[in-house]
Symmetry: C2
Subunit: 330 residues, 2 copies
């Protein structure tokens, strides 16, 4: 059995082909500007923090940047205080860019900046050919999984702080091991991160049981807006609800997932009001329904079971447009 | 790293000391009556089903018994149709008893039966010294984990059907890897079960995403009743809500857990109306708050973080009584 276990582990390792030029880049350069996407979540932040720690271990100078800063929810991540949301005092042009968990500078809000060289590490389908070096693994459950292998390949031992960040990255992107991307490999890496000091219950508690009362009231209001049409569940949050509950856009995270618990729901669609008749739309699907295709029709993006886009339209028109597009695709 | 991985795996294996007399018992006897506790959940059922399959593989005759049968939720488990809830046609006295996931015949509703010999396999603290052979591992996250090691020790290969049952057993008792009992070992065993054919997303979907629309409406109504006093969240469901939504008492399962997602909530208390001023009370606490003690004061019972009792009182008095008792205890 130990032999079997070894074999499958070895198989897992071979799935990830780290480009040799990426390893050379990380070993030879000294100054890295690590950036990730706007509105960052656990995979973006956990991956960035763990890689920054590993690079520091081998004597590199790193800056961590996210335009939106670290949301309250992720303040438990070790090292999160180092993430900057401005680069006023820095000269990005003196740095090499490491773009994580996204693959265009626009997604990170850094399109106006110049860097020496750039490398992209992402598990999303690419939207452009940006990056001098590109490591894209659309089949990886999380960018955190890629960073796990990368850190090991760099010969750096996984510390407890790195493990907490990487476990969080993987936990968020697999719904704590509930989504379709949860493979034996994912569980095996999670086990190794637990061996390295990540505490699964602490991380899950931090992610799922730290809602404010105000946010809970926002959830209740959002659930009251439920409308089901053609096995698609629609819910929304508007700016008036923020006022009534004392919440903001950051409190809408995960609200899109709740209606999925219903057996007959194929897709859960969540609308977040940004401005008059202007909405951020989050799509969460089950099984084989590919919402990334739908999102891309509306010039958005994402994964098969979790995607999103922006739309300028009255709410009811936006719902109808989506249903029409869906009926054409399925 | 593979070496490290091996070492910790080997360490995990040594944690479980399967009594040699249990292995002899299973190898030498031929007829087994596998019983588990009333009101069975995933660990009770998954463990029983997997062990039955493994024993069949080595030529043994097994009967599967649960007094309450298999709840709707668990009808996706391979082999579940073999679980009997009566033994009218059978002669239990011709069988050897295997009592799983509980350790007294009362818990399984079989105290009136005689068996040839008996073995108990359980991860709960023992309540009695019942059993000719006893394998009790209070530190095991699930009985399913014990059965996993037992099947391997019997030299039986884990089939896909066994893997689905064992993965479900472990998933339920760890809250899909969110509770404090989620160790590296648990994740490693889950990985091996996924290798053997258990599909994590299918199992999680079957457990958590099969609500009826009516039940979802009941959840919305229950959440509207939220009242927070002294860091205790109170919600309730009354008979009028069942009528309005077309639901029943069985649709209240898990409703008690939702308010726990709030950071400042110590205990979530859920009242289910049974009759006029007569309520079933469910308590769910976080961390070190022992609600079993509170429940026992009201002549109920349960575990540290999940307990319950019945009370005959108007709702508001019932809430006040609980708060008073709580303030005396903490």
């Amino acid at each position: 059995m130990e032999t079997e276990s070894n074999n499958s582990w070895a198989r897992s390792e071979r799935k990830m082909n780290i480009p040799p030029e990426l390893l050379t880049f990380l070993r030879e350069k000294n100054d890295f500007f690590i950036a990730t996407h706007i509105n960052p979540e656990g995979d973006a932040l956990g991956s960035s923090l763990a890689l920054s720690m590993a690079l520091s271990t081998i004597g590199k100078n790193t800056l961590l940047f996210d335009q939106d800063g670290v949301p309250e929810l992720y303040r438990f991540l070790p090292g999160q205080e180092k993430v900057m949301h401005t680069y006023a005092d820095q000269q990005p042009s003196a740095f090499n860019l490491l773009l994580l968990d996204c693959n265009t500078p626009q997604r990170a809000g850094i399109e106006a900046l110049d860097f020496r060289q750039s490398a992209v590490i992402d598990h999303h389908e690419t939207e452009s050919d940006f990056g001098d070096i590109r490591w894209i693994e659309p089949k990886a459950a999380a960018t955190g999984l890629m960073i796990f292998y990368l850190i090991k390949e760099l010969g750096v031992g996984i510390t407890k702080e790195m493990a907490v960040n990487l476990y969080t990255a993987i936990a968020i992107d697999t719904g704590t091991f509930r989504f379709g991307n949860t493979t034996a490999e994912v569980l095996r890496v999670a086990a190794e991160l637990a061996d390295s000091g990540a505490n699964p219950a602490f991380i899950s508690g931090s992610l799922y049981e730290t809602w404010s009362e105000a946010r809970f009231h926002l959830l209740r209001m959002a659930l009251q807006t439920l409308e089901i049409r053609d096995k698609v569940a629609f819910t929304f949050v508007n700016r008036e609800m923020y006022k009534k509950t004392g919440t903001g856009p950051e409190d809408t995270e995960n609200l899109s997932s709740f209606p999925r618990i219903m057996k007959d729901i194929r897709i859960s669609v969540f609308f977040r009001e940004i401005d008059d008749d202007y909405w951020k739309v989050s799509l969460r699907s089950k099984g084989d329904i590919n919402v990334a295709v739908i999102a891309s029709f509306f010039e958005g993006g994402g994964h098969k079971n979790a995607a999103g886009y922006y739309i300028k339209a009255p709410l009811d028109s936006a719902k109808q447009l989506l249903l029409t597009r869906l009926s054409e695709l399925t």
